[in-house]
């Protein structure tokens, strides 16, 4: 094992590979990825379409199992875990925000937010809940069903759900993909705020250099490999780097 993992890495990948096989053809979606994210960091993962961003995120979050290599969350290896244990890791240590379809259509906004806590039998701290709802401006929408919410509101509910259990890390896969620029800005502002003020670790996949600029680190993927790793990037430096890697 060549890569060393810093002790304070909340999430780390070691020599991670993921191979999709369909018949004879094999797609190396991830091809030896070594990465670590420290507590309180806000990282963006970028790269051309098909470069393996989503795959990386699924493997890091315990949604999918890598072909080889290791993922550690809070220093704990995921590879040896049973489905039951892995499910518990997702429930208690990880939060998600997807591009769309984040919410269960039969539950109200409030029930959706509470779902991970309810599943683990924990009680929500009323103060945390009130603060979250307040800062995401969801106060008057709590009793609504997802179909009665706008796209931006739905994403904010999803973020509230991802944060309420105080997970070790929140993963977001193109969280602003379905939003207009104003709603995107608000959402990204809020993510940055939680990482900076609350020390929440966030890993976000995005296509948009402007979105990536909100993060304090940008990891560039191409053909399943990490090709660049920028700290405190601006939209312009990101754009320039991306051009260099041909996308």
């Amino acid at each position: 094992m060549t890569a060393t993992v810093a002790v304070d890495h909340v999430v780390a990948a070691q020599a991670l590979t993921k191979v999709y096989r369909s018949g004879e053809a094999a797609v190396h979606a991830l091809d030896g990825v070594d990465l670590g994210f420290i507590r309180g960091s806000f990282a963006a993962i970028m790269g051309p379409s098909g470069s393996g961003k989503s795959t990386l995120m699924h493997c890091l979050a315990g949604l999918d199992r890598p072909t080889s290599g290791e993922v550690l969350i809070d220093g704990r290896q995921l590879s040896g875990l049973s489905d039951r244990e892995l499910t518990r890791v997702r429930r208690d240590q990880v939060g998600f925000v997807f591009q769309a379809f984040n919410l269960l259509p039969t539950l109200t906004a409030e029930q959706n937010i509470m779902l991970p806590l309810e599943l683990s039998g924990r009680r929500a701290d009323p103060e945390v809940f009130a603060q979250l709802v307040d800062s995401l401006r969801l106060g008057d929408r709590l009793k609504h069903l997802p179909s009665q919410l706008s796209g931006g509101q739905q994403q904010r509910v999803a973020i509230a759900r991802a944060l309420i259990g105080r997970p070790s890390v929140v993963f977001a896969d193109e969280p602003t993909g379905a939003l207009d620029s104003r709603a995107s800005q608000q959402l990204l502002d809020y993510l940055r705020h939680t990482s900076q003020v609350l020390g929440q670790t966030i890993v976000m996949v995005t296509h948009d250099p402007n979105a990536a600029a909100y993060a304090d680190r940008t990891v560039l993927l191409s053909d399943g490999r990490v090709v660049d790793d920028l700290s405190a990037p601006t939209a312009d430096t990101i754009l320039a780097t991306m051009k260099r890697w041909g996308s």
């Binding site: 999918d64 499910t87 997702r90 029930q111 309810e118 599943l119």
Partner: protein, 813 residues
């Protein structure tokens, strides 16, 4: 278009399997039951007519004609003419007895069974038994059995392979033994005939009949097949009640199947809205789209029905081999099987019409729109409420009318009323089922997150849940109706038997002049120990005259004992002022009468009671002492509550009594009735159970398709940390909610209809008062099984849901 339909079915088999299954099971029921009945009837036809089971021709005569065997054998083309020789005997081993039909085995090509062990009997003291009988009697080769009521011992020398028939149990005897009993070949009235290999059957038939016309005008020859068919159809005809139940079961399974199929179609069409929109967008007319889906339905109907017919035959083979009827060959009623096939195809198309009409009303633009919200929140219409209300009012009115007064047609009215009410309830499902589901949901939600999710899911498609619950309602309703009705009739008939023939077995001793004499001491003590006899009571008896001298009636006068009531099972009380006579006699007697015996005369009040027969009367023990000089304990009554022991008990008692005339009672008749009723209840429940199974498949279908629709949700839940097992639990709860509503409403309706049927039956026949009875364990057991099976029905959908990978929540649309 048909070709397109075919490729659709081939490419998405999963989508169609559930529909196909529903069709296949309905058709399997129709085809299977007709094969079953035909095979059983054929088996009964052969088993009840064993001597001609293998014959080509049969000659029968009303009167024996000496020398006829030679005449028939002499006709050209006849290879063998074998006289049928048989006798009925009860044989006994220890406490077990069997009534056997004993045959003399005919020459080889006419033999219907094979020896599995030993040899055919030849000597007068030999017997061969079918294996089934040898097992029942618990004897093997070389061991002995006794002819009941005699000291004759027979040695078992052979065992044969044929099964025990429903009515006939077989054994084999020898000519030597029959001859001892006075049998000669000249007494034969039936011959089984086998033809020479090259003979023409019709020519030989004509030749024999021509010969018989001169020698024995009262004899005639027939094709053996014709005689067998006649027997088979007589057996089938005797199973008329059975046939009615079969048709009710078939109709139920078809209707339930239809609801299930329609439901499945609705869901699959909803899933294919985009595909439909796309078809419309590329220029297909609405009619073309409709035709296309109906063609799919027809194709499914054909495939499903084909599978159903094959499965039906398979099931019939399994059942008949279990019941041993298969020994006599499988009967395939082609026309009925074709009918089942046709019904299957028709049901598939008819069930598809409404969903197709509704589901294909898709505007072309809908193909381009994002996924529609799957949840329907439609208000049930006012029209539905009105129609449903009218049906209920008419049904309840007719029901009230049918039970209001005695009327021979009451049952017909009741059936009409039940049909109207059922239609009202079923059609009105959307009005009340969603409410009931919400009620159940409210209870369920309290138990946590998983139940909450389940309850939400159940309520998101009220129409779908309603249709699923309705199918179950119908099936359960029918089963409970039939169970309650048969249980009530059974209770009433058995109660009636108890009242009409309260004394199971009576042993009475008399001397040569008919005077009661004491039952010998050893007999008295041994009677109570015959296996099956639970209780006995000894009654003192003497002869007495009822009434004044000229029309006096001589009866055996019995002295009442305190334990009489417990032995006969009905209340019996005789005061010192009363005399009990049988109800028929009581009508013809004045209200009080003189009872005169050797010792004296007492004037007593006449009371009718069924404990005594027409040649008996009963008075209090004190009065008997006044009337009769000596009152020996000459009569013993036995209580035999387990009627399946009837034959064993009768043989045991007869042996002790040593004279058949000393033993009387209602035991055999009652036992025949009881086993018939039990059989009827079992068959009814079994057949209608199929409808419940189909409805449960509907539950599974609906859930399975919902799971397909909710793949993303399942993935999301898994991603958020819901365990796979919790996902399965969620689906089980969904299934249970629907099942509980269906089963509860069905049970309530069934109990009501059962009451209606029983009351109407009572009104139609003033013969007896029918009492309402529910066979608790049976009905509860059935309901329990239905609910349990509903939970099981969620197994496959649950497994599929649990297999959903968390990443599927994120998959592209």
């Amino acid at each position: 278009m048909l070709h397109q339909a075919w490729s659709e079915v081939r490419r998405h088999p999963g989508r169609f399997i559930s529909t196909m299954l529903a069709i296949a099971i309905s058709v399997a029921f129709l085809a299977g039951s007709s094969v079953l009945v035909a095979t059983e009837a054929q088996a009964q036809g052969k088993a009840a007519n064993l001597p001609i089971a293998m014959a080509d021709l049969v000659v029968s005569t009303e009167e024996p004609v000496p020398g006829l065997t030679k005449v028939i054998a002499g006709v050209p083309g006849v290879a063998i003419a074998s006289p049928s020789a048989a006798s009925n005997e009860v044989v006994t081993n220890g406490a077990i007895s069997q009534l056997l039909q004993l045959f003399v085995p005919p020459p080889e090509p006419l033999r219907w069974s094979k020896l599995t062990e030993g040899r055919w009997p030849t000597g007068a003291d030999e017997i061969a038994l079918s294996s089934a009988v040898s097992r029942a009697l618990n004897v093997g080769i070389g061991q002995g059995v006794r002819v009941a009521g005699s000291d004759t011992q027979l040695t078992v020398v052979g065992l044969t392979d044929e099964p025990a028939g429903m009515f006939v149990k077989t054994g084999y005897t020898s000519i030597a033994r029959l001859s001892q009993g006075g049998w000669t070949e000249d007494l034969t009235t039936e011959w089984a005939i086998k033809l020479a290999p090259d003979a023409n059957i019709d020519q030989v038939l004509d030749a024999i009949n021509a010969e018989l016309a001169t020698v024995a005008p009262k004899a005639k020859a027939e094709l053996a097949q014709v005689v067998r068919d006649r027997q088979a159809s007589r057996v089938a005809g005797e199973l008329d009640a059975f046939n009615v139940v079969l048709w009710v079961g078939a109709a139920a399974s078809v209707i339930v199947g239809m609801i299930t199929i329609a439901n499945t179609f609705t869901i699959t069409l909803a899933q294919r809205r985009r595909q439909i929109g796309l078809l419309r967008a590329v220029g297909a007319s609405a009619a073309q789209v409709r035709f296309r889906f109906l063609a799919e339905a027809a194709l499914l109907g054909v495939i499903g029905s084909l599978i159903g017919v094959l499965a039906g035959i398979g099931i019939a083979v399994a059942i008949t081999s279990w019941s041993s009827a298969l020994y006599w060959g499988l009967a395939l009623p082609w026309s009925r099987m074709a009918l089942a096939f046709g019904i299957g195809v028709m049901v598939a198309v008819i069930a598809a019409i409404v969903p197709v009409m509704r589901g294909t009303k898709v505007a072309p633009v809908e193909a381009l729109q994002p996924e529609l919200s799957m949840d329907e929140r439609k208000r049930a219409g006012v029209v539905r409420a009105i129609i449903c209300g009218l049906l209920l009012v008419a049904g309840l009115g007719l029901a009230a009318f049918s039970v209001s007064r005695p009327d021979p047609n009451a049952l017909l009215y009741a059936i009409g009323a039940a049909t109207l009410i059922s239609l009202g309830v079923l059609f009105g499902g959307p009005l009340f089922v969603p409410g009931l589901l919400r009620l159940v949901g409210r209870l369920v939600r309290r138990f946590g997150t998983v139940p909450l999710l389940a309850a939400n899911n159940t309520e998101r498609n009220p129409r779908r849940a309603t249709a699923t619950a309705t199918a179950l309602m119908l099936a359960v309703g029918l089963v409970v109706t039939m169970q309650v009705t048969t249980a009530s009739i059974r209770a009433s008939i058995l109660g009636e038997l108890e009242v009409r023939f309260p004394v199971d077995v009576q042993v009475a001793w008399t001397d040569a002049d008919g005077n009661p004499t004491a039952v010998p001491e050893d007999v008295r003590t041994k009677l109570g120990t015959v296996p099956g006899v639970v209780d006995t009571v000894e009654l003192p008896a003497g002869l007495a005259h009822l009434g004044s001298a000229d029309d006096a009636r001589l009866v055996t006068l019995l002295g009442a004992q305190p334990t009489v009531a417990s032995v006969v099972g009905i209340p019996v009380s005789v005061s010192d002022q009363q005399v009990l006579v049988d109800p028929g006699t009581a009508k013809n007697l004045p209200s009080s009468i003189e009872v005169k015996g050797e010792a004296g005369t007492v004037k007593l009040q006449v009371v009718g009671s069924k404990v005594v027969t027409s040649d008996q009367a009963m008075v209090s023990a004190a009065n008997l002492a006044k009337i009769s000089k000596a009152a020996p304990a000459a009569v013993i009554w036995l209580s035999v509550p387990d009627r399946s022991q009837a034959l064993n008990v009768l043989v045991g008692v007869n042996e002790l009594a040593a004279d058949q005339n000393r033993v009387t009672g209602s035991l055999v008749e009652a036992s025949a009735y009881e086993s018939l009723m039990n059989l009827l209840v079992a068959i009814t429940t079994g057949l209608l159970g199929v409808a419940v199974v189909i409805a449960l498949i509907g539950v599974s279908n609906t859930l399975g398709l919902s799971v397909l629709e909710r793949t993303r949700e399942s993935g999301l839940l898994r991603a958020l940390g819901l365990q796979a097992s919790s996902l399965r639990t969620m689906l089980t709860i969904e299934a249970l909610e629907v099942a509980v509503v269906g089963v509860l409403v069905g049970t309530a309706a069934g109990a009501g209809f059962g009451w209606l049927a029983i009351t109407a039956l009572g009104r139609a026949s003033d013969v007896q008062e029918l009492s309402y009875a529910v066979d608790g364990p049976q009905t509860l057991g059935m309901l329990g099984i239905a609910v349990l099976a509903a939970a099981l029905a969620s197994y496959l959908p649950g497994r599929r849901a649990a297999k959903t990978a968390p990443t599927e929540a994120l998959a592209e649309l």
